[in-house]
Symmetry: D2
Subunit: 281 residues, 4 copies
């Protein structure tokens, strides 16, 4: 559309199906002139439709990888550079999973092996991707690495469970490694804190419908959707955001800066059949 990523090479993690943010990022990155490889775990690839995406993106190469496995990451990165014909300019990390959530373990009854798995899959994988890329000197100067986060890193949401802690450490890794990779190679690392999104992953969160309604009414621009999020990923991959690093940027229709909107308050007040119930328990 604008050729913002013309000549840029990248890797996109986490495109499962057409509701995935990573899917939209791939489509937009292709439109903007980038070439890239796609990756996901073998399991996710079986359930998803990544082949269709690859076909839409000029037959992008699909390279399976478990993002918690160093060997897989080394293979992914070296093959990507080979296939794409040079060092990388961008990486999207869109990975998150909690066995505690899946198995219905609430936050006051966590299984600690699962908790460790949540952190390894959802957060340490981000460190691993970056560390492997850096050791292989796989990024061009002014390259850009982005991970997707959520406001649960700052504010507790009922039911989001240990994913909140995973997002907190994900954003911390972006800062910690952003300093080092920026200082040494001008590579920038940021996270985007996106509105709740009805992806396959997002759908697993308890009571997601009510929450999405609430955040939509709270946000002056409404919730941001996956395609809009992808637009901003493109911006962060482009040369127009070169001096932004170690940041978590809210892409959420304004939600993060809202205390209470008229629309949400109005809806909330409808919950009282009788105004006298207000402030009664």
């Amino acid at each position: 559309m604008y050729n913002l990523l013309k000549g840029k090479r990248g890797i996109i993690f986490g495109a499962l199906n057409s509701s995935s943010i990573a899917w939209k990022v791939a489509e937009k990155a292709h439109e903007e002139g980038a070439i890239f490889t796609l990756t996901n775990t073998p399991v996710a690839m079986r359930f998803g439709e990544i082949n269709e995406l690859a076909a839409n993106c000029n037959n992008a190469e699909i390279i399976p990888a478990d993002a918690t496995n160093i060997d897989d990451l080394e293979n992914l990165i070296s093959k990507s550079m080979e296939v794409l014909g040079g060092k990388l300019d961008f990486i999207l990390h869109s990975i998150g999973m909690s066995l505690n959530v899946r198995k219905g373990r609430t936050y006051d009854d966590l299984d600690y092996n699962y908790f460790m798995k949540t952190l390894d899959i959802s957060s340490l994988s981000f460190h691993k991707v970056i560390q492997v890329a850096r050791k292989m000197d796989a990024m061009n100067e002014w390259g850009s690495i982005v991970a997707l986060s959520y406001i649960a890193a700052q504010r507790t949401l009922y039911g989001y469970n240990d994913m909140a802690d995973a997002k907190a450490i994900l954003e911390s890794i972006a800062r910690s490694f952003g300093y080092i990779y920026g200082r040494d190679k001008k590579v920038r690392i940021n996270t985007i804190s996106q509105s709740p999104t009805r992806t396959t992953a997002g759908s697993g969160v308890k009571g997601i419908d009510g929450l999405i309604d609430f955040t939509d009414r709270m946000s002056p621009l409404g919730n941001a959707d996956a395609a809009e999020c992808a637009d901003f990923c493109i911006v962060l991959f482009s040369d127009l955001s070169r001096k932004i690093t170690m940041q978590n940027i809210y892409h959420d229709g304004g939600f993060s800066s809202m205390g209470m909107s008229y629309k949400a308050m109005n809806q909330y007040n409808k919950s009282f059949d009788n105004p006298d119930e207000i402030l009664k328990d």
Copy 2:
């Protein structure tokens, strides 16, 4: 109760009636062994019941002052030191008023003279109090100055209007002057960001009942009330918080760190007679 303020002298701004936070602070400070003067504008004093408070606090001296007027502040501070027998150890600033709110001017139709007045009364008065105290060298080392703020300084609330901007600059003044007064005289300056409170001032805010219900259900400990806020003011005046300065501390039952609670979500969901209405406008 604990003698936390034994031997300390102070000035308390803004006690109107027994629902005022400043009123509770005066009562607690008295209990904790402090001596202090009370002050308010002549108008507020006519409508309020400050004489009753003074009587309860060992006949504390009442010294009228318009906190936007330098002469008044000089008079207040010099008389206070005279009456109390020495320099001051603490000051509470609990002042806020918006003519735009009172006159029903919405935020997209502000009267700019009123806006300036809002800032002068609610925020610059804080700077004036501090600047006058500093010029008169009226504070003892390790003295403590506290102003009351609200989360509207960080997040927009429908109807809070230009008071949000006033709180933002109030907190900024605490930082800016906290640096200087700390560096030079070890005086610390902080703000407390308090739950919405049903004071005479708070009651003026549009839709306050629904909001208080919502924040109460969102906050794991419920809203903090005026007496609890006063407890924490005492802490900030005491010697136990000597190295805290330039901070805005949330005293709000946890609200500021909440994204969504079960109780609030549950109440919100009751607003839909029919679950199919969710996410419909």
Copy 3:
């Protein structure tokens, strides 16, 4: 370059000379296909070189306006719409001035008339521009309004004086009005918190050279310059950031997320002729 602003119309406040951020924004906006008017106060226009800029931007119309004056703003906006042939898509607010700084009044000796002037010129002008635009219904849906801020809004810097408070309220206005204008017309309002920049305005700040050296060594990517800041303004004006509003985005080479870098610490340590001096006063 990318045609990111093709067909968009705007107003750019505050281009004084070629070191101004607003100057760079105008040049880039022109390159990206926008048409716009330029404005500044009559005084600033006499001292500046805005005619040269206008010539470079396809003879952009220059419309003098004092941004604190409602009549001037109404004239500016109506003429701009007339000249540009339609409603506006973007506005850049790059305005700041403190008489206290200019006259050497330190923060503990502020002149309160000057303080009010600082706020009126540097902050309330932002509200005025938006309020006038909104009353005139001058913005297209999904339009974008940006003001330039500085980290002094969050952290106190020696010598930055009442401009810190002005930036705090500027960012608050972006949130407060961002809610309303977003809700009603999908117009988004953000601030960019830019590295210290050697503009004509920035040069007035005390000890700016040492500070710029420090922030440059602290920031993994070094300080962001005016041209880079302009790139990101273009992004915020473009359709690729439609769901970002009410945010303050740090464009600062990573400085805001740094506690201490190796380079800055190393330089700092050189200040001790003898390591034994460390931690001695």
Copy 4:
């Protein structure tokens, strides 16, 4: 001194020797009328002087426990309730250790087993303590749980390594569990972000002397020391802070709100033998 903790029972983790913050907390808690047990790992107890502390605190019981081990924690908590004669009112978590730091693995060359260990010891241990306490219903209503954090959770410091990420998740756990434990039992959970402190743990951090000098000159009140930190821990355990939860409170002499102080800038500028070197690399 004030009897702030009269009748309260607690557990204090992490007192190694007299420079430990936990050591000071134990001394102050004792002075303020609390009774408590002391705990540390068997290894730390061998190297430390915890017996001396216990003797000073009315022969407080020492119960060894590895805070990452659920059985140990269950034993610790049940024995503590037994010894102290009832449920607990406060817990201090002062635990942190990074094998990556110890073994000299830099942040771009982390050993991931060590990283997991860092998180387990420094952060997940906090969750484990709370989860075990809650399952055993070991806390009284309005009890208070505090962990010690550091500004590295928000801002990257050279050499702090994976402890930054550990502190980020520590603070997140305080929020996540603070919601649940507050909602169900009114137990509050907070972290204190303390100045860099010359404890045995703190001394391991690279270049700590220069950093401590810098933060001291940056902070208007100077760095906070361990005893002052202990004072504020007492406050958070007391009834005077009942409505504060899920917060991270900076106890740092103002450092966190500083951008640049006169003293630090002045010292920094001395590093240039010749002012022309400024801004040269």
